[in-house]
């Protein structure tokens, strides 16, 4: 009781203790922040630990993230070991019982969909591989919809008083998003089946959705930068006429992809890794942008 009183007193004295009824949602990546915002609207105070320009593998459990995780009612992350370098540490430091693994406040998007690129063998000589599969599930819009279902259920569980609100918003989102998927798919018909070179296996789900043909990956193994010798070998192996584009990811070092594009004349398309949530970009805006960028080389 003394402790409670002390905490109460502290809360008056300290700046930054915000008085708000909103549900605090902490997301590891901006795509889940954007999705949560679609499903919860003004009832949620959504914070994303990373931006579209950051590599979510390589984040540090820095002070601001610990403070945000401490206050979260719901944590939404990708899982599949994408955040293995920092999320477990963050969870241990935050002292927040409700968002620990197994609790209703802990939601992992990758557990809601089937993963691609599951390695048959685990060995670090194969690079920074993920035992459970490729974690970049948000690059297929069908996965977004599949994740939205259980995520809205979770919101209802965390905030049962507003269950109807979440149901209403989810139903509206599901309809709109399905129509958007159909639109993007039709729009992208010209690149269907195209041969592409990727820098990192970031776009596997997008490639799967559009039926693209990945003919080469610039990284020799995941997470390891290509050497010039490796790049030269990739270049040699390519049938230059057949490759439509090189796909790079926004937050990655662009030199290898630039070099290959300069050397071969193959169009380089740098796709933003995710929605720029912090600047108000929605998932719709992001996929619109991806579609426009992917269509450029075939115009």
């Amino acid at each position: 009781m003394i402790l409670r009183t002390t905490l109460l007193c502290l809360s008056f004295l300290l700046p930054g203790v915000q008085v708000q009824a909103a549900i605090n949602v902490f997301t590891c990546e901006p795509e889940w922040a954007a999705l949560a915002k679609e499903l919860g609207g003004e009832l949620l105070d959504v914070y994303s630990a990373t931006t579209a320009l950051q590599d979510p593998h390589h984040i540090q459990a820095r002070p601001s993230l610990i403070a945000r995780a401490r206050k979260a009612d719901l944590l939404v992350c990708t899982g599949a070991e994408l955040e293995t370098g920092w999320l477990p540490l963050l969870l241990r430091k935050a002292g927040n019982a409700g968002i620990q693994p197994g609790q209703s406040g802990h939601f992992l998007a990758a557990e809601q969909v089937e993963l691609l690129d599951v390695p048959e063998r685990l060995d670090r000589s194969m690079g920074d591989i993920h035992a459970s599969g490729n974690p970049h599930v948000h690059t297929d819009p069908r996965n977004i919809l599949q994740i939205a279902g259980p995520l809205h259920q979770r919101l209802k569980q965390i905030d049962p008083d507003n269950a109807e609100h979440y149901t209403r918003r989810f139903e509206a989102f599901a309809g709109d998003w399905q129509r958007a998927i159909d639109r993007w798919y039709a729009q992208l018909a010209p690149v269907k089946g195209a041969a592409v070179v990727v820098h990192h296996d970031f776009w596997s789900y997008l490639i799967d959705w559009l039926g693209l043909n990945r003919v080469a990956t610039l990284e020799p193994v995941p997470g390891v930068s290509p050497s010039s010798a490796h790049l030269a070998r990739v270049k040699q192996s390519l049938d230059l006429q057949a490759v439509t584009m090189i796909i790079d990811t926004g937050y990655m070092n662009d030199r290898p992809a630039n070099w290959l594009s300069d050397q071969t004349g193959i169009a380089l398309v740098t796709l933003p890794a995710t929605a720029d949530f912090q600047n108000g970009e929605s998932l719709y805006d992001w996929f619109d942008n991806l579609a426009a960028l992917l269509l450029e080389p075939v115009k």
């Binding site: 905490l7 109460l8 502290l10 809360s11 300290l14 700046p15 203790v17 008085v19 708000q20 009824a21 931006t51 320009l53 590599d55 593998h57 390589h58 984040i59 540090q60 459990a61 820095r62 002070p63 601001s64 610990i66 403070a67 945000r68 401490r70 206050k71 599949a80 070991e81 370098g85 477990p88 540490l89 241990r92 430091k93 002292g95 927040n96 019982a97 409700g98 620990q100 693994p101 197994g102 609790q103 209703s104 406040g105 802990h106 992992l108 990758a110 557990e111 809601q112 969909v113 089937e114 993963l115 670090r124 920074d128 035992a131 599949q146 279902g149 259980p150 997470g223 070092n253 912090q278």
Partner: protein
């Protein structure tokens, strides 16, 4: 206003949700089985080639009695700090970790249990309790394993005051306040048996308290500032590090009370907050130690002792620049100062507590190649003026990490 505030705090801090296992995979979920039931195991391989212009056996820091791990690596090839680390969530309420370090001293392999602790996961309200053996929360670097350091050796102030690092058995309670800025306060009750405390204590022999505050400035900058304090009475502390030699060797014993206060400031910059490609880290720490008691020269021909009033302090400032994905370079400057007095200056002199006006300092520069998160090769040069004769020190060090993925701490 009051009632709303109560609700906000109440929801977050007071009503820690009852632990309730949630069927996470749920309908249509895909559980991604991994080695979740096994403890995560990491093995750290660390080794060094060292070259000195002075004899490393002569190493001392005037004004400071050394102990713990303080001292130089042997000249030539030697193994550094090889570690075996087991960690895991124990259940939904506890996390546990065990760290065993292997080091060689005088041709003998010493196995040291550096960490063996549990930590709560489910107290809620920002509270965490840790119990067992762990690195004390004082300072910034003290809690980092040597393989996570940015230089091969500990800062001089850590070597001189803590014997490189302070760990002990006991309990820690800490709380994170519900603010956007990180505010963490904690306290530890420790046995007081480990260097730089020591001796037999009934109950708690050493107390510490610490506070950290930190946050971001925009997307690219983040910082943390900390204060810490250690208080230990009734210490009986042997000095001489590992160079005990034969049974008859003479060594100084300190008995008395110790107070250590420290402050640190960490600042990091990464363009767009993307640490992977490039980042800069600035790190500053200051410690000040006040001790009073007696120094006894044990095994001296005739029993010798002196009272001791000791004031010692030191700081270091370092900057590390990761300028490409796999390359980093850094500089560090160390400085120490001491003012010791007692009833018998000859005893203090023999114990190494007389500095004769020498102010120990050291300048270091390093470059490292980090081909992946799991490997690092480092070249480091120190211009070491710990004692009156300048020493040129060169280290070529490898550090490899096998097994489970390490944590990216701030």
């Amino acid at each position: 206003m009051n009632s709303i505030t109560f609700r906000a705090v109440g929801a977050a801090a007071l009503l820690a949700p009852a632990a309730q296992t949630f069927a996470d995979a749920g309908a249509g979920g895909y559980a991604h089985a991994s080695s979740a039931f096994n403890p995560a195991i990491s093995v750290i391989l660390d080794g060094v080639y060292a070259s000195y212009s002075n004899d490393p056996e002569d190493y001392n820091i005037p004004g400071f009695m050394l102990g713990g791990e303080a001292g130089l690596s042997p000249e030539g090839f030697s193994l550094g700090h090889s570690e075996l680390i087991f960690s895991s969530d124990i259940d939904d309420k506890f996390y546990g970790r065990l760290t065993v370090a292997f080091a060689e001293h005088d041709d003998e392999i010493e196995v040291e249990l550096e960490e063996a602790f549990f930590e709560t996961l489910a107290l809620g309200g920002g509270f965490t309790i840790r119990g067992g053996r762990f690195y004390s929360g004082i300072g910034y670097l003290n809690q980092q394993h040597p393989h996570a350091w940015d230089f091969k050796d500990a800062p001089l102030v850590y070597s001189a005051l803590f014997g490189d690092q302070y760990f002990d058995d006991g309990v820690r309670a800490s709380v994170i306040l519900p603010t956007d800025l990180l505010i963490e306060v904690g306290a530890e009750a420790l046995s007081g048996k480990k260097y730089p405390t020591g001796g037999e204590h009934q109950g708690v022999g050493s107390w510490t308290a610490f506070a950290n505050i930190g946050g971001d400035i925009g997307v690219s900058h983040s910082w943390q500032a900390g204060l810490s304090y250690l208080s230990a009475d009734g210490i009986e502390r042997e000095h001489g590090g590992h160079a005990h030699g034969g049974e008859e060797a003479e060594f100084p014993l300190f008995t008395g009370d110790s107070r250590i206060a420290g402050a640190n400031l960490i600042y990091k910059w990464a363009p767009d907050g993307n640490y992977r490609e490039r980042n800069v880290k600035l790190q500053f720490e200051y410690f000040n130690r006040d001790e009073s008691g007696e120094v006894t020269l044990v095994n001296a021909a005739t029993p010798e002792n002196s009272t001791l009033e000791s004031k010692q302090d030191g700081w270091y400032l370092q900057a590390v620049w990761q300028f490409a994905r796999s390359w980093a370079t850094g500089v560090r400057y160390d400085r120490l100062d001491s003012d010791n007095s007692g009833s018998d200056p000859n005893v203090l002199d023999e114990a190494g507590l007389v500095s004769n006006g020498h102010q120990p300092e050291r300048a270091s520069i390093m470059a490292e190649w980090v081909p992946s998160e799991f490997s690092r090769i480092r070249l480091q040069y120190n211009r070491d003026d710990s004692y009156q004769v300048s020493d040129d020190q060169v280290y070529l060090q490898y550090t490899f990490s096998m097994g489970s993925h390490g944590a990216h701490a701030f």
